[in-house]
């Protein structure tokens, strides 16, 4: 895995995506090796058949800091759709490999444990969200998102789009969830649905959280 420095990230961010969330790039390593790979979130680049690909993509989706895991590179160049490298890449690359590496919905993910201090957010159109008990706990089987992902959402309408909510009412109520360490949880990525793009991180609390673990709501603009 390769990690792009800030200037390289800015450079990619100023150029179009190859597809939603990725760019096909050619790297030059400090040993002057040329590498063709996929840049995700204009931040990391994965080579074809990268063994840890799925784990890195999941970590990236969850907002993890991956800098220490990746090699830095001398240069990065976006490959144009008409380039010979791009056509060669498409011919070699089985499409299913990337589909399989893309995290799916939370309900299909393994159950893991939250870490101490992890914070989650829940967007709701309702101030009186019935998934939240009077004692400030969250009912089992409740969906939310990570704090890092929630930072990308500025309005209730953006929440509807990012979390592919079927209720078109702006989800302007933001609840904060601070579960105790080792709370059971599943992580995934919201799939497109209901005419919304999805793409946000979703977490599913498979068990109820502790009392007083939920606060809010804070209000955001409807958009």
């Amino acid at each position: 895995m390769y990690y792009l420095n800030e200037a390289q990230q800015r450079s990619l961010l100023n150029q179009p995506e190859t597809g939603m969330g990725y760019q096909l790039v050619e790297l030059t390593t400090f040993a002057f090796r040329k590498v063709v790979g996929m840049a995700y979130n204009a931040e990391i680049v994965l080579e074809r058949d990268e063994p840890e690909q799925k784990a890195f993509l999941r970590a990236l989706a969850l907002g993890a800091h991956l800098k220490s895991y990746g090699q830095e590179v001398r240069d990065v160049k976006l490959l144009s759709l008409s380039s010979s490298e791009f056509r060669a890449f498409l011919l070699r690359e089985p499409r299913a490999a990337y589909a399989a590496a893309t995290p799916g919905p939370a309900k299909d993910a393994p159950v893991v444990a939250t870490k101490a201090g992890e914070v989650f957010k829940r967007f709701s159109a309702y101030t009186n969200d019935h998934r939240i008990e009077a004692d400030g706990s969250l009912k089992s089987g409740t969906d939310a998102t990570t704090e890092a992902d929630a930072r990308l959402v500025r309005t209730g309408k953006e929440a509807v789009a990012r979390y592919a909510l079927p209720n078109p009412d702006p989800a302007v109520n933001v609840f904060t969830i601070r579960p105790v360490a080792a709370t059971a949880i599943q992580y995934g990525v919201v799939q497109p649905a209901y005419g919304q793009p999805g793409g946000g991180v979703e977490v599913l609390f498979t068990h109820a959280t502790a009392a007083r673990s939920v606060t809010g709501p804070n209000k955001i603009p409807p958009g």
Binding site: D108, R131, K139, G141, D143, T145, L165, P166, V190
Partner: protein, 68 residues
Amino acid sequence: MRVPLDKKWSERLVKLPESGMGYQRVDIRFAGNRTARDVMVFNAEEAELPEEFARLPITDVVVRGAKD
């Protein structure tokens, strides 16, 4: 149209898992053996129902499974 659910159904639904953040996909059975399938229920209290079902008495609400 949005139809508020009776407390009885809301109390049942909040004990069941969500289908996504803030909603559940359910099948609703009505008197007369009619069923509305894949209905969205928001906040366990409001169902998005076709108008033809809106005034019928509900006899059962079942959350749809992942494979439905």
